[in-house]
């Protein structure tokens, strides 16, 4: 009996069955991708807007600073000229402008509103430095102190760098748990397990085929996620050891399949298996950090989050895909996930039943 032949043909049968299941395709592939597009779109372009300054008449100090600043000021401040002083102040009161500036003689008058403390602080600081540097150059002496600026690599996590691995983690978890539990329950209630038991094909072959199909689906999910997130509109940048996410994905899928097998071995009907799957996957996705970063979460929540295998997958993928850590950084998480897979599979094997009776 050709074991490999059986393996190939069973895998093919299951893959075809999956591919023709529109609902499964939607929920495992398209649905998480929609979330990525949505979250990437909403949170991807969150930049602080410029300070909006209205210049009444001509303020020579301000004009000189803007002209001489080499465009630096233009990055943080937008200056609009207006002859209407009363109109400008009204705009400021309504919050449509952040400051109104006018020059009378040698005095620069800055009107501001206290509604937005950060912006009003920014605008006063800016104006102050403009006046100071005008004073300094008026003395004709070179400045006593000088400043040089150096930019460091931006260590804060861009939204897409976070959402790509963590939403992918959620997608993998729900596909894995759901796939395994549904397959097991369906096969048992429909008598396919019986039928397989009666064929000479070795049983590990049958289960290996199911695992292989799940891994293939997971790698497709991974590829789609990474490709979509790298589109210019989302702008995911993969650095260094991103490829380490692939063994992470595999370990994660094994862990989730094993949890799904556990549910499938325990549940008697498809409905029970479905409800149980939701009960496991949804809290795990929320508390495991798939929908929001846990870095800012309270300490107890972060502690609780480590109960969930998904937390390790999310963290591991985030480290290598989002934070650009080295390949070795993923090993502890891979270890935890493999441990979950082994323990889950062992319990599932004890609960396993061939038939529905």
């Amino acid at each position: 009996m050709s074991t490999f032949g059986s393996f190939k043909s069973l895998s093919r049968a299951m893959f075809l069955g999956f591919g023709r299941d529109r609902a499964a395709l939607f929920f495992t592939v398209l649905f998480p991708l929609m979330f990525l597009v949505l979250f990437g779109g909403i949170f991807g372009h969150q930049t602080t807007s410029k300070v909006n300054v209205l210049e009444v008449g001509r303020a020579a100090i301000l004009d000189q600073a803007v002209a001489g600043g080499g465009g630096e000021l233009g990055k943080v401040m937008k200056v609009t000229r207006t002859p209407d002083r009363a109109g400008a102040l009204r705009k400021l009161e309504k919050g449509d402008a952040d400051a109104v500036v006018e020059q009378s003689g040698n005095e620069l008058v800055v009107h501001y509103s206290a509604a937005d403390q950060v912006k009003s602080g920014t605008v006063r600081g800016l104006m102050n430095s403009i006046v100071q540097s005008a004073n300094q150059s008026a003395t004709g002496k070179p400045p006593a102190y000088s400043m040089t600026t150096r930019q460091v690599e931006d260590g804060s996590l861009k939204a897409i760098q976070f959402f790509t691995p963590s939403l992918l983690g959620w997608a993998l978890a729900s596909a894995g748990v759901f796939g395994a539990s549904q397959t097991l329950v369906t096969w048992r209630t429909k008598g396919i397990l019986r039928r397989l038991q009666l064929s000479p094909a070795p049983l590990p072959t049958v289960f290996a085929a199911r695992v292989a199909v799940s891994l293939a689906i997971a790698l497709v999910q991974f590829a789609l996620f990474v490709l979509v997130a790298q589109l210019p509109m989302f702008g995911l940048r993969l650095s260094g050891a991103w490829w380490m996410a692939i063994p992470m994905v595999i370990a994660g899928v094994l862990a989730f399949l094993s949890i799904g097998m556990l549910i499938g071995a325990w549940a008697k009907t498809q409905e029970t298996a479905q409800a149980m799957t939701q009960l496991v996957v949804l809290p795990m996705a929320f508390l495991g950090g798939s929908f929001f970063p846990l870095d800012a979460a309270p300490g107890w929540l972060r502690t609780v989050s480590y109960i969930f295998p998904l937390r390790y997958l999310n963290e591991g993928m985030l480290n290598v895909m989002g934070r650009g850590l080295g390949p070795m950084s993923a090993l502890p998480q891979i270890g935890v996930l493999m441990g979950v897979a082994v323990v889950g599979a062992m319990i599932a094997m004890r609960l396993f039943r061939w038939d529905a009776v």
Binding site: R12, G17, K190, I192, L198, P200
Partner: protein
């Protein structure tokens, strides 16, 4: 002569229920063997033990000279099992289904495809199993059980839920399979089916075999009177009672029915009176044997 199946002293208990309680029988090579019995009689459990799906608590089972338990990969390719539920892979077509099951036994694609012809499903090759009618699905499940050309075929209530045309069509398929030299073991609770198809039947109830033999022998062994009926009014009821061999006569306004243990004498006498308009003779059937043995009361 080595028997294809030998079972002796088989016992199996589930909790408080003694599902199989000392079953002994043999099935010969090439035989069409039926196991009859009401629901819960222990037919399916008996079959499952023979197929190697369950372990017997007690007793000996030998199938094609081998022991089916524990799971015997040397025996499995030689037997084919059609299960009660139609167990198919989801969303696959008829052809894909057969090829997948075939591959579990190392059957080449061409041979798997040829099975569609045997059960008359050539036209449904690209139809998904969910779209097949009850009869087509049943034929496909038989084709799946036969795809590896087994010597011994087990069928568990193959015609349940089929219409009369579907049943007759399936009987033809089953007879053809049997005449190819395969041994077939069938469970059913359709008595007419067993009478038409089986060489021998075992009637089971409460985990025991009550009778075993060819259907005709079982029927003849049953002392049930024959009923002769003719059109109403052909003969007066009083005259009918006086016919030689007649036990009882009644006229319900549609038919005159005469009960007798000597139908040939009664028919001869009626012929002499030219009173055979619309004559029908009902002998005992396997159903009578079955009801006689298992009782007529309804068990919910």
């Amino acid at each position: 002569m080595v028997q294809t199946i030998e079972v002796s002293g088989l016992r199996k208990r589930y909790g408080d229920v003694q599902a199989v309680d000392g079953v002994t029988f043999g099935v010969e090579e090439g035989e069409f063997f039926g196991i009859l019995g009401p629901n819960g009689a222990g037919k399916t459990t008996t079959l499952e033990i023979i197929e190697g799906l369950r372990k017997a608590d007690e007793g000996e089972v030998s199938v094609l000279g081998l022991s089916p338990w524990p799971r015997n990969p040397g025996l499995l390719p030689r037997i084919g099992v059609q299960l009660q539920a139609s167990s198919f892979f989801e969303r696959l077509t008829t052809r894909e289904q057969l090829r997948t099951f075939g591959s579990l036994y190392g059957v080449p694609v061409k041979k798997a495809d040829a099975m569609m012809e045997l059960v008359g499903l050539e036209g449904k090759a690209d139809v998904r199993v969910e779209k097949l009618s009850g009869g087509q699905a049943q034929r496909l499940s038989i084709a799946c059980a036969l795809v590896h050309d087994p010597e011994l075929l087990f069928l568990d209530e193959p015609t349940a839920a089929l219409d009369p045309q579907g049943r007759r069509n399936l009987w033809d398929v089953l007879r053809q399979i049997n005449t190819q030299g395969r041994t077939v073991v069938l469970t059913t609770h359709h008595m007419d089916e067993a009478e038409i198809l089986c060489d021998r039947v075992a009637i089971m109830d409460a985990g025991k075999i009550l009778r075993l033999g060819p259907p005709a022998v079982l029927v003849r062994g049953l002392d049930v009177p024959a009923r002769i009926s003719v059109a109403s009014g052909v003969l007066a009821v009083a005259d009918a009672r006086l016919l030689p061999g007649a036990d009882e006569a009644a006229d319900d306004g549609i038919s005159l029915t005469i009960t007798t243990r000597d139908p040939s004498a009664v028919v001869a006498a009626m012929a002499a009176k030219d009173a055979l308009t619309g004559v029908q003779i009902h002998g005992a059937t396997l159903e009578d044997v079955f009801l006689e043995l298992t009782g007529r009361e309804y068990r919910a």
